[in-house]
Every structure is written in C-alpha cells, then in structure tokens.
C-alpha cells in the first residue's frame, strides 16, 4: 500500500505541474490580450501607444517564461495574481464565489448518488418490471433534453406557476434545490444506466451465482456482492463527475442568477482576464486531480486487486 501511495502521489504532482503549463500556455494562445479586451469591451477606440504603455505597466510584454515562472512561484503560495478587470486578488475573488458553486455541486452530487443508486438498483433487480420500464423511458427523455432548457421549465413551473421555490438568487436552502436538481438531472440518466448495466453484468458472475447456490438471501447478495462489485467503477466515474459538476455549473448559475465561480469565469473569459482564468483552471484542475487520487484510494480499499497490482508493478 505504501508504494502504491507514493506512486500515486508522484504522478499527482507531475499532473499538477503539467496542468499549470497548460493553464498558462493555452490562454496565451487565444488572440486578444486583457488590455486590448478591456478597451474593446468598453467600445473605446484606443491608440497602439496607449495599449503598449498599459501592457508595459501590467508586465504582459515580458518574456513568457519570465511571466510563467513568476506566476508559478506566487501560485505555490496560493497567490494567483490580480484580476485585470476588478484589480482585486484572484484568490479572494475565486474563494468568495467558490463556496456557492461548491454547495451547488455537492447538493447535486448527493442527488445524483441517491437517485441513481436507488433507481439503478431497483430497475436492475426488478428487471423487465414496471419500474425498470419507467426508469428507462425516463432516462431517454431526460438524456435528450438540454439542461438549460430543463432549468427554464423547472423555474417556470415550480417557481413561477406554483411559487414553491424562489425564482433566483442565493441565501437559503430553498435556493439550492432547483439549480442543484437541474445540474444533477444532466448526470442522473448516465448513472442509472451505468449502475443498471454493470449490476446486470455482475449478477451473472461466478461468485454471485455461487452465493445464490449457497442459498444466501437475495438482499444480502445484492448488498454484499453485486453492489460492492460495481463500486470501483462507480467511484472512478463519480470522481470525474465531481470536477464536471464544478466546471459545469456556469450555465445553471447564469439562469438562476447565482453569483458563483462559473458565471465569474465566463465573464472573465470574454474579458481575457488571464490571471482569473489561470487561477480557475489550476483550482478546478487541482480538484480533479485530488478527486481522482481519492477515488483511486477508495478503489484500492474496496478492491484488493488494485492495490496489489500497484504494489507489485
């Protein structure tokens, strides 16, 4: 387990370093820099001399390697620089909004896990039954609807027509339900299908057949053998979804008028706010890497084959 852990940690650091290069490099490849973007956004015709003097002031005309290394050194201490638009610290700007996005993503995550596990297991165990039929048609319908459109339908019916939940904004738990639900709906069909099909596969495996032959109770078989068997695959998939939820909250945040990281980053993208974008990519990328690491650990705990393979290689 020790070697497995060390190897995983090493590759995690390497991935992290690679990501900072990509974060820095990709953004500079996009045409138009923050100084120019600022003036075009304000529809101000500015002279080349004006642009040049402001670039000089902001340090955008230093060699790229110098810019990258200064940024990287600062980033190690969690100082991601200053936003060109707001002139505030990027770390503060991101953190101020991050808890909102995190609450949204975490609630959506819980919804995904509970709904898809319940429905997935149910429809796999009662295969061909009414619930199975219903859930499968439900999956097809849901999977074919874009989430922003669903968001509007929900807002229209639940918030506007029935007045059960607030239309928009942030503040209480009631504000979280609709946006988190909409966010979760984008993922739930996938997970129901994943759980159902991997369970059906698992049911026919020799150890399950053997358990059934021994006369073990069906509910125990499902819990102890089948569900446990699909866990590694599920956990790995969920880890990827965690990052996806954080990154994918942008549209939901715009529709529901929530001041989260997603909305902020979309605005920063149009403004080419380099430091905000770099900080965001590193933050979300870092979380992806950490989630994956945790998922690997969990898999290793659940499935001894993973850690033995890791130790032996």
């Amino acid at each position: 387990m020790g070697r497995f852990l060390a190897k995983r940690l090493g590759s995690m650091l390497l991935a992290f370093f690679g990501m900072t290069i990509i974060a820095f490099g990709l953004i500079r490849v996009i045409p138009v820099d923050p100084v120019e973007a600022y003036f075009t956004m304000n529809q101000i015709p500015i002279s080349e001399e004006g642009l040049a003097s402001m670039r000089e002031e902001e340090g955008y005309n230093r060699p790229l390697l110098v810019q990258y290394s200064t940024w990287l050194v600062d980033a190690m201490t969690l100082d991601f620089g200053e936003s060109f638009v707001s002139k505030k610290s990027v770390t503060a700007e991101l953190l101020q909004r991050f808890h909102v996005t995190l609450t949204l993503a975490a609630t959506a995550f819980i919804m995904i896990v509970t709904v898809s596990l319940t429905v997935g297991i149910w429809s796999a165990t009662k295969r061909g039954g009414f619930i199975d039929w219903l859930s499968r048609s439900f999956i097809f319908t849901l999977a074919s609807m874009p989430s922003f459109w669903l968001a509007f339908v929900f807002v229209y019916i639940v918030a506007l027509k029935w007045g059960l939940l607030p239309l928009m904004g942030w503040g209480s738990f009631a504000h979280v339900i609709l946006p988190a639900g909409t966010l979760a709906l984008g993922f739930i069909p996938y997970y129901i299908r994943l759980i159902r099909s991997s369970m059906l596969e698992e049911v026919n495996k020799p150890h399950v057949v053997f358990a059934r032959a021994r006369g073990v109770k069906e509910s125990v078989i499902i819990r102890r053998h089948v569900v446990k068997g699909i866990l590694p695959q599920l956990v790995t998939s969920l880890a990827m979804t965690c990052g996806g939820l954080l990154g994918g909250a942008a549209i939901i945040e715009i529709v529901f008028t929530i001041s989260g990281v997603g909305r902020f980053v979309v605005e920063s993208m149009f403004a080419r706010d380099y430091f905000v974008l770099q900080g965001f990519i590193v933050m979300i990328g870092g979380l992806y890497i950490v989630f994956n690491f945790v998922a690997d650990l969990l898999c290793a705990l659940v499935d001894p084959r993973v850690r033995i393979k890791g130790d032996g290689a």
């Binding site: 304000n42 101000i44 500015i46 002279s47 918030a159 007045g163 059960l164 904004g169 529901f256 909305r263």
Partner: protein, 531 residues
C-alpha cells in the same frame, strides 16, 4: 404507507416554500410598495469608480456622481456642480464657479481643491483615456479660490463642455473616496459622490441598493430606494417581472426586440419606446476589395429595403435611417437626398460599373473577379446575425455574394481593426458624444471610421475638415464645416444607415412618470414614481 408518504411530501414542500418566502422578503419590493423600485440589470455595477470604465456600470456612475456641467434635454449645456463658467477669448481656458451648497454623502463639502484633485487623477491616467480628446487637451487646473477653478487647455477644443458632462471619466469623487495610493486608476476606497443617490447596500453579482440622497443639492428623487437586481439572463428577467420580483426592465440592452414584443402582447405591463438614441450603421471599407468602388456602395444602399428589415428583424421598434445622425442631433439638420429602395437603380449602377451578370450565373463578375462582400459579425448578437442573413438573401437578387463570418466578440473586434472586411456593423454613440466623437474616429488609425474614409480620393480634405471642426470656436464656421463633412460622407456613400436605435422599457402598472434620458446610458430614476 401511501398516506404517510404523501403527508411527508406535503410537509417537506411547505417547509421549502416557507424558506423561500422568508428569503424573498429580504429583497422584495412588496414589503414597501410606495417608495421602493426594484429593477433588473444585466451586469454587476462594479466598484462604481467615477474615473474608470468597465466593470463600472454607466447608469450607476450617473446615479452617484455629478459633473461640473450637464447636458440638457435640448442639447444645451446646463449648470450642475458649477453655477457658471466663462471661456477665455482664445478658447484656451475655462473658469468655473462652483455651487456653495454641495455636500458629498460623507458630509464633506465640494471645494475647488477637490475638483482639481479629481481632474488631475484622470489626466494622470491619460493612457486609459486616449480616446477622449478632453483628457488629452487639459493642460492643468488652477485653484482661484475655494469655489473657483480654472482649467487651462493646450489648445481650443469646442466640445470641451460636452465632454465634461459625460458620465465618465470627469465626475467628482469626495476626498474620502480616493484610495491610499491617491490615484483612482487603482480603484476607489468608497463610492462617495454628491449625486441624487447613495449606494447603501451592495452584494457583488447579486444586488445593489440605492437610497435617496436627502442632502442632494438639486431636485431630489421621488422614490426612497432603488434596488437593482443583477440578472444576466433575459428569460430569467422576464420571469422575475412576471413573478413580481422586479418592477422594471429598462433599456434595449436587457431585452431583444422579440422579447419586448412578447411582454407587450401580454397586456399586463406598460411599455415605452424612446426617441432615437443612436444610429445602427453598416460601415464600408473603402480600402478593401469591391467596396473601393463607389458604384458598388451606392448599389447596395439602393438594394436595401429598410422597412422590411425593421418590421421583421427589429419587430418595428426602430425607425428607418437614411443619415448618419438622426435629425435633431446637433448640427445634423442638413437636407440630404435619401438612397431609397430601388432595385432597378441598384442593378443599373452595377452594370454601369462593369459588374456583369453572365447568363446562368448567380453572382456578378468583372475581369474574372466575383462581386463578393466579406462581412464579419459578432456571433453572439442574434439581431446582427439576422440582419446580415436578410441582407445575404436580398443582395443575392442583384447578383451580390455575401460571405458571412460569425466570430466571438473579441475576435470580431480584432478583425475590424485589421480592415479585412467590406462591410461591418457599427453604432454611432448617441449624445453627448455625437456628432463630434463618432466623426473623430474617422481620423484615428485602425478604426472602423478610418477604413470608411481612407480609400476615398477626398480622404485628406475630409480628415482635415474633421480636425478643423473640433478645434473651431466659432459656431458659424463649425456649422459650415459639419455641413461639408456630412455632405461628403453622404455623397461618397461610405456609411449605410439602417435604423435609428431606440431604448425601451417594460414596467408593471404601479410605476408612473417613466421616461428616458437623452443620454442613452443613463436611467432617469430621479423622476420615476410608484403610484
């Protein structure tokens, strides 16, 4: 079991509903319907730094800060923080006498020293304001006494007072609003102004609360509070209005023409359209490809049915435009013959210029070259996209090929600077910028106006006249110069005015005294009332 679960469901829903209501009250209008107005806005208002641009929103800057002089409804310059002013005979200095009853919202008084400090900080950051002549032309500011300042200019500049009246960057911030570094280009400490409103509560990206300034020196607002909710999505704004979370959607930036019309059709709201605020124009590039040919420019003007476009794309919300500025704009009441819709004339013009339509061909050619127009546009702008698609099909009828290039906003603007286009969408700026500011862009390198005139034989004379008109201190001479400039622009057909843009609003029926400001970026909230 069934009963229990339905009971639990109802119980859960009622808790949720209770939570929702609790939260709503915090920012709701209905709690105090008589004196609070809630409106939506697309973007956060920013720090509301009077001396800088985005993310500071113009309407909020106008609510908090006052200029020395203001732009009156009739286009005349009116007293504001300054009661009177005097221009030196050579036009190179202005002496302002300040009001003695102006108090900032922190209780401090407006003084000549404070005015100097404000102007100096803007002039020190001139790189950011290089587009604005007034900043470049100010030489220094002298304090005469506590309530008198003299602004010395490097050279005479007739629109000096007009540009002082702009919402930014020359409005006054209290001393306590300046940051530690002393220069507002680093941001401000607090938004302390002398305007009709005070910013009393604010949550970034969520809402801003403005309260009436009881010490305001001018006519005080009728409303007690204005709450601005930041709602970036148009559908969400419409639903918020329907639910009663907001009372007002102000400005064409918040609703597309079709959305305005949809709300109007419900019959549940009051709707209003403003007078022309600026002009939607297509600007030709006279230095690039087929649009160097004057006959092509004229033919395209005659092959454009403005009324159809306005009816079907702009839902009838704007008026046909045939001149660069709407009649009624300063110096703009000049008789010019309109290029009206006339396909025969358009075809004739192209034939005359040698653009022939071979039998069986769809597009015209001349010396092996096809008559193709390259038109880039911002792909995020649905209205522009639809206008161009309409033009693409309309011009096909006279054998002109249109190549549309939809790009992200920043990339689109970058292309506009390179001049790699034949036609491009552009708006004039509206008062008090127009006409002088838009005209002046024609002399600036790499700007849309520059590409419009650069290829003309009369380019040099035209830009010389533009240079002269903004330096001219004689009203009569100025009028004559403007007339000649507008004449040339029209004869050379370098701009194709489409429609006069309007502003519009949708409000619930409880609001009264709604109106628009002459300046399209200002919301005249001071006059609004709740019945």
């Amino acid at each position: 079991m069934k009963k229990l679960s339905s009971f639990l469901l109802i119980f859960a829903l009622s808790i949720v509903a209770a939570c929702g209501n609790l939260e709503d009250k915090k920012q709701s209008t209905s709690s105090n319907p008589k004196s609070v107005l809630t409106m939506s806005w697309v973007k956060d208002i920013g720090q509301v730094n009077p001396h800088m641009y985005a993310p500071n929103e113009l309407f909020a800057q106008a609510m908090l800060y006052d200029p020395l002089v203001s732009y009156g409804e009739d286009g005349k310059i009116q007293p504001a923080l300054a009661t009177s002013w005097e221009m030196a005979t050579d036009g190179k200095s202005y002496t302002f006498t300040l009001r003695d009853d102006v108090m900032y919202s922190d209780g401090s008084k407006l003084t000549a020293e404070n005015v100097k400090r404000n102007i100096d900080t803007v002039v020190d950051n001139s790189a950011a304001h290089s587009w604005l002549e007034v900043v470049a032309v100010i030489d220094n500011v002298e304090i005469i006494d506590e309530l008198q300042v003299k602004i010395n200019l490097k050279e005479p500049y007739y629109p000096f007072l007009q540009e002082l009246s702009l919402i930014r960057p020359l409005r006054m911030l209290a001393d306590s609003g300046f940051p530690e570094s002393g220069t507002t280009k680093d941001g401000i400490a607090k938004p302390i102004g002398s305007g009709p409103w005070i910013l009393t509560d604010y949550q970034q990206d969520s809402f801003a609360e403005f309260t009436r300034n009881e010490n305001y020196w001018g006519e005080k607002p009728k409303l007690k509070k204005v709450i601005v909710k930041i709602i970036p999505d148009a559908q969400a704004r419409m639903m918020a209005l329907e639910k009663g979370d907001i009372d007002l959607i102000f400005g064409s930036g918040q609703l597309a023409p079709a959305e305005y019309q949809a709300l109007q059709k419900t019959g549940k709201y009051q709707t209003m359209i403003s007078e022309p605020s600026s002009t939607r124009i297509l600007s030709f590039n006279t230095t690039y490809g087929v649009t160097q040919d004057k006959n092509v420019r004229l033919a395209l003007q005659h092959a454009f049915d403005r009324q159809t476009m306005i009816d079907y794309v702009l839902n009838g919300l704007e008026q046909e435009a045939y001149t660069l500025f709407a009649p009624g704009f300063p110096f703009s009441d000049i008789k010019l013959e309109h290029y009206t819709y006339n396909l025969e004339k358009a075809t004739q013009l192209l034939e005359d210029a040698g653009w022939a339509l071979e039998s069986g061909a769809t597009f015209r050619t001349k010396n092996g070259q096809t008559l193709t127009l390259v038109i880039p546009y911002n792909s995020g702008d649905q209205v522009h996209k639809t206008i161009f698609e309409y033009l693409q099909s309309a011009w096909r009828e006279i054998g002109v090929e249109v190549q549309l290039i939809g790009e992200e906003d920043q990339l689109f603007k970058m292309r506009s600077k390179t001049g790699q286009y034949n036609l491009i969408m552009n708006d004039t700026w509206g008062v008090p910028y127009d006409p002088h500011m838009y005209i002046r862009t024609m002399t600036g390198d790499k700007q849309i106006g520059y590409y419009a005139q650069k290829g003309l034989a009369v380019s040099e004379q035209l830009t010389a006249n533009i240079g002269k008109v903004i330096r001219s201190t004689d009203e009569g001479q100025r009028r004559a110069l403007y007339e000649s400039i507008f004449q040339t622009i029209h004869e050379e057909a370098i701009f194709m005015p489409l429609s006069y843009r309007t502003n519009y609003l949708v409000a619930n029926n409880e609001l009264a005294n709604l109106s628009f400001s002459k300046q399209q970026y200002e919301v005249p909230l001071k006059n609004f009332e709740v019945k």
